[in-house]
Symmetry: C2
Subunit: 194 residues, 2 copies
């Protein structure tokens, strides 16, 4: 689950406050999409001070990640991919994403997000904005890769998760992460570095 940021010396609010903010965030994101939602608006909807939303989730992305039950925030995942030897970029990306979806919790939240995008138009808009701004845009900026190439990588990886964890095609579903890193890593590397 997304790590909460508890700073010492600040009143943490009740456990219920956090749940209240998440519920308000879900309503706000559903109504306004990811881009137009604000911490201030979510706080208003929850009936709390905006500082309390910052206290629990630090950023709007953090609230979204918690609201969607994502296993990790993009702000934490992206550096793990982009930092390191440039010629192992593709391998790192494949390894990090497959590791994130290798436990039940991580898998279910990502599958839940895909399912929501496929069956609910409102959810689709906010998921699209979140993917574009918080995930892909961040890598595009860090690496200077073109958005189209980054989206081809997104296609490869989301399809891999679909085929491995949802459709469960064999031998893909049972393959070791490192076997897939070896197969798909160079492909992702080629998209990102050319």
């Amino acid at each position: 689950m997304v790590t909460e940021r508890r700073r010492p010396g600040r009143r943490p609010g009740s456990a219920d406050t956090r749940g209240q903010i998440i519920a308000a965030a879900r309503r706000t994101f559903a109504e306004k999409g990811f881009d137009k939602a604000t911490i201030r608006g979510i706080a208003r909807e929850a009936g709390v001070d905006p500082a309390l939303v910052h206290h629990y989730f630090a950023t709007k992305e953090g609230v979204f990640a918690a609201a969607m039950r994502l296993p990790m925030e993009p702000a934490m995942v992206v550096p793990r991919i982009v930092n390191g030897p440039p010629d192992e970029l593709g391998e790192r990306l494949v390894r990090v994403l497959l590791t994130m979806t290798s436990d039940v919790e991580g898998r279910e939240s990502i599958v839940g997000m895909m399912r929501a995008a496929m069956t609910n138009d409102q959810a689709l808009v906010m998921i699209r904005e979140f993917i574009t701004d918080a995930i892909l845009g961040r890598v595009v900026e860090a690496l200077g890769v073109s958005p189209l190439r980054m989206e081809a990588v997104f296609a490869q990886m989301s399809g891999l998760i679909l085929a491995r964890h949802i459709i469960r095609l064999e031998p893909l579903a049972s393959a070791d992460i490192e076997e897939l890193v070896e197969l798909v890593g160079p492909i992702v590397q080629r998209y990102l570095v050319g």
Copy 2:
């Protein structure tokens, strides 16, 4: 839509017979999955002679394609991909699949199949068997490629359809087919030919 095979000199049955067979096929596939369903069983469920099922749909795959409203039968698509210059295999595969999903009807049937797989366990089983046997197995056999590599290609292409037609990420959603053939074709080629 899937082309019907009408042979001259045979009683075609009423339009309703065809619909009756499709309805029976949906029930049969849902109950038995793709592998265990038979033309004979579908005919029994529809209360018609098996010859009539053959007459309308030729093969079990043909019945399945019609039942799932697929834009084309694998038996017709796969040869268009595997036949031709070997060094343009990847490009052909990308071009054929993106062209198939470029009209509303083709897109909706494939999106419908993905949605069914994600939300219904029974549908998932039959879709997995169909993808494995009728689509991937056929290419694996024709090209002598490993099943794992073929599944990586499936992941790339299903993710591309997801990102382009369902999530509609830009610039991917508006890109020309030929632009994507140029970007993704060499990747597919590399998976298939090494």
